[in-house]
């Protein structure tokens, strides 16, 4: 596993995200899910998004990814280094069960038309980065839940994205595996300097991972809290016992309750 890197990455390579007046409603769901939402994410930032279930966190993530289009408003992605490359990690690993680990991780490059040798090398690197370098020929059903999630993470990283969107990715895992993956994700973020937007329903996970945490109210989502977390950049599990961590987590929890969570 990678050790968390203490130094801030230079130069910042991430994408700047700005959402303006984003509105989205679905038939059958009472009222709008997103009702004119404004949001800015700095390039290279690690932002956690908290909120009660069904409040529109996932919808916002899908709109940012371009998987869903808003009824009104717009989302712009600005990248200083070439085009915005967006990667998405879902709630479950969602691997293709008929492919081995390596070709699962290489899938995004295969779909975007990268040559076989090049994409295999890139997939190998991505798997190394998540600590799965020696499992490349295993099939998904031979892996534990945590390992599958790491393949999913490698698949997201294989295109060298500058915006990584994660939708409650580790929610289904046991606490220990989840903490290990949290550390790994932080380390990858610090190393790769990409912008990360992480949706979670766990206050502790948000406080542990992010530089900035945004709390949504119940539907239609509006921002009830937007905190830059006053926590050291280097995070280890000892942090969870610190008073500062407790204070941040408490503040987020209160905001969540106030927003109708």
């Amino acid at each position: 596993m990678l050790a968390p890197l203490p130094d801030p990455p230079e130069p910042k390579r991430g994408v700047r995200v700005s959402a303006r007046g984003v509105e989205r409603a679905f038939r059958g769901v009472g009222g709008a899910v997103l009702g004119g939402l404004d949001l800015d994410l700095a390039a290279g930032s690690f932002v956690a998004l908290l909120g009660p279930s069904g409040c529109g966190k996932s919808t916002l993530l899908r709109v940012i990814a371009g998987l869903d289009s808003p009824d009104a408003g717009s989302v712009t992605l600005d990248s200083t280094s070439g085009a915005a490359r967006v990667a998405f990690v879902f709630q479950d690993a969602h691997l293709l069960p008929w492919r081995d680990v390596l070709s699962n991780a290489a899938l995004p490059l295969e779909l975007t038309g990268t040559g076989a040798a090049e994409r295999r090398a890139a997939a190998r690197d991505a798997l190394d980065a998540v600590g799965l370098g020696d499992a490349t020929h295993k099939m998904p059903h031979e892996l534990s839940g945590g390992m599958r999630m790491r393949v999913s993470l490698a698949r997201a990283l294989v295109t060298r994205p500058n915006l990584l969107l994660l939708d409650e990715p580790f929610a289904a895992l046991d606490e220990l595996t989840r903490q290990r993956l949290d550390d790994q994700l932080r380390a990858l973020w610090a190393e790769l300097g990409l912008t990360v937007l992480f949706v979670t329903h766990s206050v502790d996970e948000a406080a542990y991972l992010a530089e900035r945490a945004i709390v949504f109210s119940a539907r239609p989502a509006r921002i009830v809290a937007d905190r830059t977390l006053a926590l050291p950049r280097a995070r280890t599990s000892a942090l969870r016992a610190e008073p500062a961590f407790g204070a941040e987590a408490r503040a987020l929890r209160e905001a969540l309750e106030q927003g109708g969570g």
């Binding site: 990667a87 879902f90 709630q91 293709l96 008929w98 995004p108 779909l111 059903h141």
Partner: protein, 258 residues
Amino acid sequence: MRGFRTLAPPLVALALILATWEVLARALQIPAFLLPPPSAVARATLAELGDLALAASVTGRAALYGFLMSACVGTLVAIAMSSSRILERAFYPYTVFLQTVPIVAIAPLLVLWFGAGLRSVMVSSFIVSVFPVITNALSGIRSVEPALRDLFRLYGASRLSTLTKLELPAALPAIVTGLRVAAGLSVIGAIVGEFVAGFSESGAGLGIVILSSYRQMRTDLLFSAVLFAALLGLVLFGAVNLAGHLLLSRWHPSARNP
């Protein structure tokens, strides 16, 4: 040892049933045209082995062609329907018609269109066996996880690569299930087709043997022909099973640890 344990019970059951049948048929002096004893069926089978094997090959060929047509056409129809809600809504009701239409009733029509012989028999086999392929392939393609579709969309996958790299592999277990059902049905369709479509240029199929032995009250031979028809269905079913196992064993739970 494991093979013996799985094979022994059905074999013992078969022996018991045959013995009971033999004893009852003799003891109650059941006329042979009603229920010939197994020994008589065995004698008839041996005596007519050449004709029966030829008939089985004629029917088997028609059933195999019908089955292959079902596999190809059924999968293509499912792909077309899965690509468009409008196509599905427009045509799905008529595929249900394929399943509910009494094949005996439309077989004369097939003879009018395709002439007596292999072609009519093959089409009859196709009509009877295509429906389960369509429904299973369609539901297989439809049940691809939405998150995986999103993943393919995120990376701008073309319609063709979504089909070949996601939808078809994901639907394969369902398609194999449909083909298993179609394998048995294709033999049934071929025999019913032969009842009406009559002699084909390449010889008499099992359907003809069944009809003629019925007319001659050769019930023993009728049993032999039924036995061969069942064997044909089994062979086709086994081949589909084997192919499915080879294709799926590496990843799908239905094909692991048989």
